[in-house]
């Protein structure tokens, strides 16, 4: 009994009789195993030379863009705003992480070779660097968020765009102000050691997605979603909108900074001019096409849009124009993007399999009896159970409602 009650509140699968559901520990175990399998397979393929250096580079970039798209999704899909300065956070994160690692290499006794061979000191420095990068970006997110989040819609878009431009100008010119070389100025930061590889990119991506997922599943995440759906209603229900908007914004900036740190180690140079409006738009396109509010959508579109230019080298001239046209068409004909705010779940899929293709709503709901314990209340509770079962529709509806609010 308690097991089914627990399932009802935790996983959203309602307690119904005859429906075999997975317990939470089981779900985590399955997912963890899948992750480990992919990690091991990937690492073997790379070490064995099946996957070339070129392809490994592209995979790392896919990982970076996945984090960027999902982190932007926090602020656009989940919070319902349109910040246009995401590339600025990426730039701050990249610079801080790279500068940190480069400066601390001597102190910690790590050489560039160590990153390739993977000594513990190198791994430790990498972790510190990435966190430092994310942290710096988060601070910027806080500074930007406080004034920006007072505004709505278009104003927020322009102000975040402005902030990203300010970041760019600062990165280009701060050396003159400081008197010593920090960021390398306009030509950029060069000579960054290649501390990014498949293994640590994969792990960082998994951890980031895990953190974002659990945040959104928690009370905090629900508060953020409620702000998207109807800010004034949320405020009147006691949700501190300023706090949660800032939280979402800062989280979005943090992960963008992490991605920036990975980017610096993958490419080896950081040039401020490349992190302007255009880059922010590229990431926005990924989020919009994948579906704002859908993590899976962001992941898929980030992957596809990173691989596509490589595959379509022959027609790369037209790539940008095609992106623009696709963006316009998607907005006119399918504004919710590829997947809307639908999200995938392994556990739901497995449950569907073990229940021979039947979904929870195909069963007689007994949650009513279990939860209330009284026959008279069963009728009142039954709608609750059924609404709990139709998890997709409320999601879609609230998604639609969000669009009409501004």
């Amino acid at each position: 009994m308690t097991a089914s009650k627990a399932t009802a509140t935790q996983a959203g699968t309602p307690a119904v009789s005859g429906y075999r559901s997975l317990s939470m520990p089981m779900r985590y175990l399955i997912n963890a195993v899948l992750v480990v399998i992919f990690l091991v397979v990937g690492e073997l393929m790379i070490d064995g030379g099946v996957v070339s250096r070129y392809q490994t580079g592209v995979i790392e970039q896919i990982g970076i863009y996945i984090i960027l798209a999902v982190s932007l999704n926090i602020a656009t899909g989940y919070l319902g705003q349109l910040p246009l300065g995401h590339a600025g956070f990426m730039s701050v994160g990249g610079y801080s992480c790279a500068i940190f690692i480069m400066r601390m290499m001597d102190t910690m006794g790590v050489t560039a070779r160590d990153f390739a061979t993977g000594t513990p000191a190198a791994a430790g420095l990498f972790v510190l660097g990435i966190i430092f990068g994310g942290f710096c970006a988060a601070i910027c997110g806080l500074i930007i968020g406080v004034p920006a989040l007072r505004l709505k819609g278009d104003y927020l878009a322009i102000i975040t765009l402005g902030f990203a431009e300010i970041i760019r100008v600062v990165m280009q010119n701060i050396d003159g102000v400081l008197g010593f070389t920090l960021t390398g100025g306009a030509k950029g930061l060069t000579g960054i050691p290649g501390y990014t590889n498949f293994l640590n990119t994969f792990i960082v991506v998994v951890i980031s997605l895990f953190l974002i997922h659990t945040m959104m599943k928690s009370r905090h995440g629900r508060a953020i979603l409620s702000i998207r759906d109807n800010e004034i209603a949320a405020e009147s229900c006691g949700v501190s909108t300023t706090y949660y908007k800032t939280l979402a914004f800062v989280a979005s900036a943090f992960f963008a900074g992490v991605a920036g740190g990975l980017y610096a180690g993958c490419i080896g140079v950081m040039a401020p001019a490349k992190f302007g409006f255009m880059k922010s738009i590229e990431i926005l396109v990924m989020v919009v096409l994948g579906g704002m509010g859908s993590m899976l959508g962001s992941v898929i579109s980030a992957t596809v849009l990173t691989i596509l230019p490589e595959v379509l080298r022959a027609v790369s001239d037209y790539r940008m124009v095609v992106y623009a046209v696709v963006l316009i068409l998607v907005m006119i004909f399918r504004p919710e993007g590829l997947l809307g705010d639908y999200d995938f779940s392994t556990s739901r899929l497995i449950e569907r399999i073990i229940n021979h293709g039947k979904r929870p709503e195909d069963f007689v709901p007994v949650a009513a009896a279990a939860v209330e314990g009284a026959a008279s209340d069963a009728k009142a509770a039954a709608p609750t159970a059924t609404t709990g079962g139709q998890t997709e529709t409320p999601g879609k509806e609230s998604g639609k409602e969000a669009h009409t609010h501004e």
């Binding site: 319902g80 349109l82 004034p147 007072r150 505004l151 819609g153 278009d154 104003y155 878009a157 322009i158 102000i159 765009l161 402005g162 902030f163 431009e165 300010i166 100008v169 600062v170 280009q172 010119n173 003159g176 004034i232 409006f277 738009i281 926005l284 919009v288 001239d317 037209y318 940008m320 124009v321 992106y323 623009a324 046209v325 963006l327 316009i328 907005m331 006119i332 504004p335 969000a402 669009h403 009409t404 609010h405 501004e406």
Partner: protein, 291 residues
């Protein structure tokens, strides 16, 4: 002496921003859309001038007319194709579509014309004037005069004509305007035409002053003009002019004291300060939100 020259520089730059800001503010005032593509319409206008004068060898007067008409036409086309289907859609979709249009114009131009700058020939051979030993460019004077005249004409259009009345009605309440028998879509298209024509004039003035056309010239110009429009109070015509001049002076001032690398940052900082202190801008009206 240098101070006077700098003031004139500021007036010239500010006038161009003011003209572009006028176009922005008109479109925003009526359909609450930040038309990202506005700056790129200017870019198209500059290229039209280049084609007409440099490639086809026709007269400068024709180039001016075609640029302005071309821009107006482009603005209406964009509205019909990209924005009209989204009249009832949420603002975010509209904003993203505007970004898409802007992207399309920039990359399309790069594809067609190449990334290298094209030189727009001088429209007229203007003498360089000199007042008390200070070099005065005739360009600057023409820019300031044209902007002033355009502002006056625009104000007359909006306040005194029937079409202007329709524009004001639609911007106040689209539904009510429709009930009053105003053809909302046509009014909006007309607003786009006027706003884009102003952008076309801006393109001509810009080409007179800086004589080069590149595919990405519209981005910064458009963004700063938007800053100007917001500064002055979006939806307000005199506000746009004041905002434009402010931004122009800020840039020139920052350059003059030797910090020109920070000029973009200063302009955006100005925007941020204004938005935080007085979100509706200098001359804007506060908007209340109904729950």
């Amino acid at each position: 002496m240098t101070f006077l020259t700098q003031v004139l520089n500021g007036l010239q730059l500010g006038s161009i921003y003011a003209l572009v800001a006028l176009g922005y503010t008109m479109v925003y005032g009526i359909i609450l859309l930040l038309n990202f593509a506005h700056g790129d319409i200017i870019m198209v206008g500059a290229y039209i001038s280049w084609i007409v004068m440099s490639q086809l060898g026709l007269s400068p007067a024709l180039a001016i007319v075609l640029s302005i008409v071309g821009c107006a036409g482009l603005g209406v086309l964009i509205d019909k194709v990209a924005y009209q289907p989204l009249r009832e859609a949420p603002r975010m979709s509209l904003l993203i579509t505007a970004i898409g249009v802007s992207y399309f114009l920039e990359n399309g131009a790069q594809l067609v014309f190449g990334a290298d700058a094209k030189v727009v020939p001088e429209y007229f051979d203007l003498p360089n004037l000199s007042v008390g030993g200070v070099g005065l460019s005739a360009n600057a004077i023409i820019t300031i005069v044209v902007t002033a005249v355009s502002t006056v004409l625009l104000t007359i259009l909006v306040q005194k004509t029937k079409l202007g009345k329709a524009m004001r009605a639609v911007s106040e309440d689209m539904g009510a305007a429709r009930l009053m028998g105003i053809n909302v879509n046509n009014t909006i298209s007309f607003t786009f035409a006027v706003g884009s024509a102003l952008a076309g004039i801006g393109a001509v003035l810009y080409s007179m002053a800086y004589s080069q056309a590149t595919p990405t010239m519209g981005i910064m110009l458009g963004t700063k003009a938007f800053v100007a429009a917001v500064l002055g109070g979006i939806g307000s015509i005199p506000g746009a002019v004041i905002g434009g001049l402010l931004v122009g002076f800020a840039e020139v001032f920052v350059s003059a004291i030797g910090l020109s690398v920070w000029q973009d940052a200063v302009v955006f900082l100005l925007l941020i300060i204004v938005l935080v202190v007085r979100p509706t801008g200098i001359l804007g009206r506060p908007m209340t939100e109904k729950v």
